[in-house]
Point group: C2
Chain length 263, copies 2
């Protein structure tokens, strides 16, 4: 469990929870448990996705993946325990004094990370890889798949800030729109890194998609069009935060970091 | 997910939730979502434990296990999604009108099924199987391991009834003591079935422990002493329910079913 969680990583999701909550005056300490719970879910998903039966990755954040460092069964159980721990943490009274807030966080995280969200997106992705004769992928299909696989947890990150901060419906929707745009930008940037980056900087294997002849947004659109869409998506993310004025600038900077990252 | 959940099974855990809650006048419909959530956790754990990297079982409830019927990655993701769905269901307003009750159920289920409970017990069990030169097992070690691996969810089942029913501390403790005794009885009965049963009746492979030269309560104590301990444990389970008088008879019957089962 420690190997899966404490090996670095960008901690983008906890940052988004804390900065979304900060829009409503929530102190970072008071958003930290929710932020940590979300990061546990992200790290469990990596431990499982890296397994030989799934993406078969041996390198993650410049270190061996959990199954490679230990065993497959350890990686499976560590992931299971991390997912479970995330819900245990959200439910703790120290997370928020109001049980209704805690249970809203549990519900939103479960919906984002389950079959209609992250796990479902991973399943769609693996179906394309593993089943014979998959349907010809379209930008629209890949976009939907990635909105589930990667986007849903980023939307939850921003939504969690709104839940912790007692946001009204308009504020919550603005944050979720921001999260969705950020998720899409994140995926385009990831595909561009795979197409253009080098393994030493990125910290994991690159050019995997091309080697596997796997359709991505970048392979379907071409690099110039993907870069253009990335810029437009970042602008849309920024636009979604208009109602927060300059208080949204840290989240805008986070979006810019995601778009510009080299690893 | 359907293959993992809808293939039969004894449904002992949902029965315990519903009958524990019934002690406090909770209608079975009002305990059904919690009961279902718990069964999803049980079924996810079977889908994962059956994987080649873990117990490598091909037969469960007389049918192929999830990985055998589909693929390993499907079994991993189906399990992940079932675990997540369990918490989503517990958090639903339809489960219980009081958010504090729902979040108490989330917390208790997460503690029972995580690293300090079911998943931790499975890890201890696999360590004994897979690591070279494990410590010589004792009855005490196996009992602790099984209390985590199997017992914790059975304790939760009874605890959940107490939470749903607004039990006082004494009533909750009585139900948890009953669940712990039942869990121990369940495990002795399981080991006896493995030692004495036949695969067609049991619905899964038997004599696996002996073939793997694996220490069990039965192999350490011998069959007669194990049967004696089983009878004494059933009596202890029944005794734990004394404060409920004859209202505890359905739970006593459930314990007797567990002790006497042939599959």
């Amino acid at each position: 469990m420690r190997h899966a969680v404490l090996g670095g990583g960008k901690r983008v999701r906890p940052l988004l929870v804390i900065e979304s909550a900060a829009l409503f005056g929530v102190a970072s300490e008071d958003a930290a448990l929710t932020a940590a719970a979300l990061e546990l879910v992200h790290c469990y998903s990596l431990a499982h996705d890296d397994l030989p039966a799934m993406d078969n990755d041996e390198l993650r954040r410049g270190r061996p993946t959990v199954w490679k460092a230990y065993d497959e069964w350890t990686a499976i159980l560590a992931g299971d325990a991390l997912l479970t721990l995330a819900f245990e943490i959200l439910a703790r009274p120290e997370n928020h004094p109001d049980a209704a807030v805690r249970v809203a966080l549990v519900s939103a995280l479960a919906r984002s990370s389950g079959v209609a969200g992250m796990v479902g997106g991973q399943a769609l992705d693996l179906m394309a890889d593993k089943l014979g004769d998959p349907p010809a992928p379209t930008v629209e299909h890949i976009r939907r798949l990635q909105a589930m696989k990667t986007g849903a947890l980023l939307v939850f990150a921003c939504q969690a800030g709104a839940i912790l901060g007692g946001a009204n419906d308009k504020e919550r929707k603005a944050l979720m729109d921001f999260g969705a745009a950020l998720g899409f930008a994140f995926q385009i940037a990831d595909d561009l890194l795979d197409a253009e980056g080098d393994a030493a900087t990125v910290g994991k294997a690159v050019a995997k998609d091309a080697a596997a002849n796997k359709a991505t947004l970048v392979s379907l659109m071409g690099i110039p069009a993907a870069k253009d869409m990335l810029a437009r998506t970042e602008a849309a993310a920024s636009e979604a935060l208009t109602i927060f004025g300059s208080r949204g600038d840290i989240l805008r900077a986070a979006a810019h970091f995601v778009v510009s990252r080299r690893s």
